[in-house]
């Protein structure tokens, strides 16, 4: 039993609960960057986990130091969605960068051009343009580059809203700070051989294999 919050009622009575609860329900990933909320989450974790379990959701505390609320499988009361393709591509490359010690010197602060370049190097410009714009061929190179940049920018905004990164401007240069939650993108490849683990995680509702775009981002419209 936690000393700060002996009962669930004590945890719910804390003024931080509404904020943390709202963020978790929106799919936001929390970590120590947000010290007050993180400390509350840690202190009340046992009660909150039991609380959300009643909604069929799981409060996940990753060993890398971040937490999020995972919607349960069928029968859960919370709405759920999966990330769009461009968010996945950008998230995957950000996870790669977060695992590279070269970016440690600047405390995981990268300018957005570095992200774009890493993405192009990893995926290939043609494939990237196809995935991000939905067209086999760009009308012209300038338009293609602009579409890629805009799509990456929108993906970064959405990933920031979910707590995977922070966006900031340093000396007028748009930058991203990579947060621990990016390790979620590497989770399927942690043990075994990649997609095998993704399949295991898919069975647990952590990821979705393939991308049924008609269903993109919305698995339960009617749940609150």
């Amino acid at each position: 039993m936690d000393r700060l919050y002996p009962t669930l009622a004590d945890a719910l009575a804390d003024e931080l609960f509404p904020e943390v609860d709202t963020l978790l329900r929106r799919g936001v990933h929390l970590d120590e960057t947000d010290a007050r909320r993180w400390h509350f989450l840690n202190a009340a974790e046992e009660h909150l986990a039991a609380f959300y379990a009643r909604y069929g959701a799981r409060l996940v505390r990753a060993a890398e130091g971040y937490a999020y609320l995972l919607p349960g499988e069928s029968g859960a009361l919370f709405a759920r969605r999966h990330l769009a393709r461009e968010d996945m591509l950008v998230g995957l490359v950000l996870a790669l960068l977060r695992m590279d010690p070269h970016h440690l010197q600047r405390l995981w602060l990268l300018d957005e051009d570095t992200v774009l370049l890493a993405l192009q190097n990893a995926v290939g410009r043609g494939a990237l343009a196809e995935v991000l714009s939905g067209r086999k061929r760009a009308v012209d190179e300038e338009t293609g580059n602009r579409e890629i940049r805009e799509a990456v920018g929108r993906a970064l905004s959405r990933l920031a809203r979910l707590g995977f990164i922070d966006r900031e401007t340093r000396e007028r240069v748009p930058c991203v700070r990579l947060r621990k939650a990016l390790y979620r993108f590497a989770e399927p490849f942690r043990d075994g051989a990649g997609q095998l683990d993704a399949a295991r995680l898919a069975a647990r509702g952590v990821v979705m294999l393939g991308q049924d775009d008609a269903d993109s981002g919305d698995d339960a419209d009617d749940a609150a």
Binding site: G27, G65, R85, D87, P101, L162, Q211, D219, A220
Partner: protein, 447 residues
């Protein structure tokens, strides 16, 4: 020795020829022999050992003899030593502190020029607790004397010799010595970070063990500097503020401004100590966290390799993370929409299956008008705000119909204009007293 000229005017106000003429006309020449350099190095080290920045004449003689014993080229004898001291003063390498020979024999200190020469010849001066304490102690001693001199309501010559000149020459140079050491320490820390980077590149398993001492040594130095600065800052500030007040009261605006400037520089030094300590702490935490996480997560670095491969083949084998999405009560559409691929999902019921059972003629008519306006605006190259369009055209519509209209217009926009750039608004927009919607900004599709 003549004092250095007052602060020069801004560079833009001086022409190159004028600046060159000024430099030539100053007549300053620098001839430093290896013997002079050895003498200066001996004085600097003596100051470090004795924890002082000042030397009386007897000390200068003693150091000269000691250096001569080592180098064997200075030529012994008090007369030669005095000539050496005179030469260093002429070349502005030694500064006499007692301005006008108040004390018998004089008191001397190494000038900024001498310290810069030594740094160039021997490497940068170290900034550690001991060296900082010595310099700060010396600054405090001088400021105490200057403050006492400033309390005398004396003539301008007294202020120039006993207050302004020591502030301008001695204190200015001593604080400059701290600032030079700061640059050296910054460079040292850059080297440490690069060494840690090399260790992390080489071997994660032993990185924590080997990085630890490097990180701790730098953190220890910064902690000591911060403490040394903290101990002295308030005393130094008190002295400078007292000098500033006395100068203002006596109508010596230039002295007051100089004291204020030194206060600012000391504040900057203190801030530097604090910020470097905090930043190094953050860097240490980040390194330790990375090592712990990465060694645990990906000891063989195979996860990163598989992740890179998955990224390359993503288009062929896509997958997606699932996230909770239960907090968006006001949103009619999720954020993660792929407009192009979502076209089928957004197909209107009346387009696919005939008119919906609940439709009525008024709603259909309004919807058709709004949809036509939307199509025409986009076709004409304009941008459309869905909420704006509805607010302008359907203000008189009952709230429930307005809600239904917005939903149908939203679906129409996604279905008919999948290639348009869709930007969800940052905040909900009010469409009535009890209705808020997430606005959608559409800009024409690229062709």
């Amino acid at each position: 020795m003549s004092p250095p000229p007052a602060s020069p005017p801004p560079a833009a106000a001086v022409s190159v020829p004028l600046r060159v003429q000024q430099a030539y006309a100053s007549g300053f020449r620098l001839e430093v022999t290896p013997e002079d350099l050895a003498f200066l190095a001996g004085l600097a080290l003596t100051g470090e050992i004795d924890a002082t920045t000042e030397f009386d004449l007897a000390t200068l003689m003693q150091v000269h003899r000691s250096v001569d014993e080592v180098v064997g080229a200075l030529g012994g004898g008090g007369e030669r030593a005095e000539r050496a001291v005179g030469r260093l003063i002429e070349q502005r390498l030694l500064t006499r502190l007692d301005f006008g020979g108040i004390r018998h024999g004089g008191t001397y200190t190494l000038s900024a020029l001498a310290r810069a020469l030594l740094e160039h010849a021997l490497g940068p001066e170290r900034l550690d607790r001991q060296s900082l304490a010595v310099v700060l102690g010396s600054v405090l001693a001088h400021l105490t004397e200057i403050e006492a001199a400033a309390r005398h309501d004396a003539d301008p010559a007294h202020w120039e010799a006993q207050v302004e000149a020591p502030l301008r020459l001695v204190v200015h140079e001593l604080i400059g010595a701290i600032e030079r050491r700061q640059h050296a320490l910054d460079a040292e820390q850059r080297d440490t970070r690069q060494a840690i980077q090399a260790l992390l590149d080489a071997d994660w398993d032993s990185a924590l063990e080997r990085c630890g001492p490097l990180l701790n040594a730098a953190a220890g130095t910064l902690r000591e500097l911060r403490e040394a600065m903290f101990e002295q800052t308030s005393l130094l500030n008190e002295r400078l503020e007292a000098i500033e007040s006395a100068a203002l009261a006596g109508g010596h605006a230039a002295v007051a401004a100089r004291a204020a400037g030194l206060l600012l520089r000391l504040g900057t030094v203190a801030q530097w100590c604090q910020s470097r300590f905090e930043r190094w702490g953050e860097y240490t935490r980040t390194v330790n966290e990375f090592i712990r996480t990465q060694v645990r997560f990906d000891r063989e670095r195979s996860v990163a390799a598989r992740l890179a491969e998955a990224l390359r083949s993503y288009a062929d084998a896509p997958w997606a993370l699932v996230v909770n999405d239960a907090g968006q009560l006001l949103r009619l559409r999720p954020e993660a929409v792929d407009p192009a691929a979502d076209a089928h999902a957004a197909t209107l019921p009346d387009e696919a299956e005939g008119a919906p059972a609940h439709a009525d003629a008024a709603l259909d008519a309004r919807h058709a008008a709004l949809a036509a306006a939307l199509d025409a605006t986009l076709a004409g190259g304009g941008s459309v705000s869905l909420a704006g369009l509805l607010a302008a055209s359907a203000a008189d519509t009952p709230l429930d119909l307005r809600y239904a209209l917005y939903a149908r217009l939203f679906a129409h926009a996604l279905a008919r204009h999948p290639q348009a750039a869709h930007e969800p608004a940052a905040a909900p927009v009010a469409l009535g007293a009890r209705l808020q919607v997430e606005d959608l900004q559409l800009t024409p599709e690229a062709r």
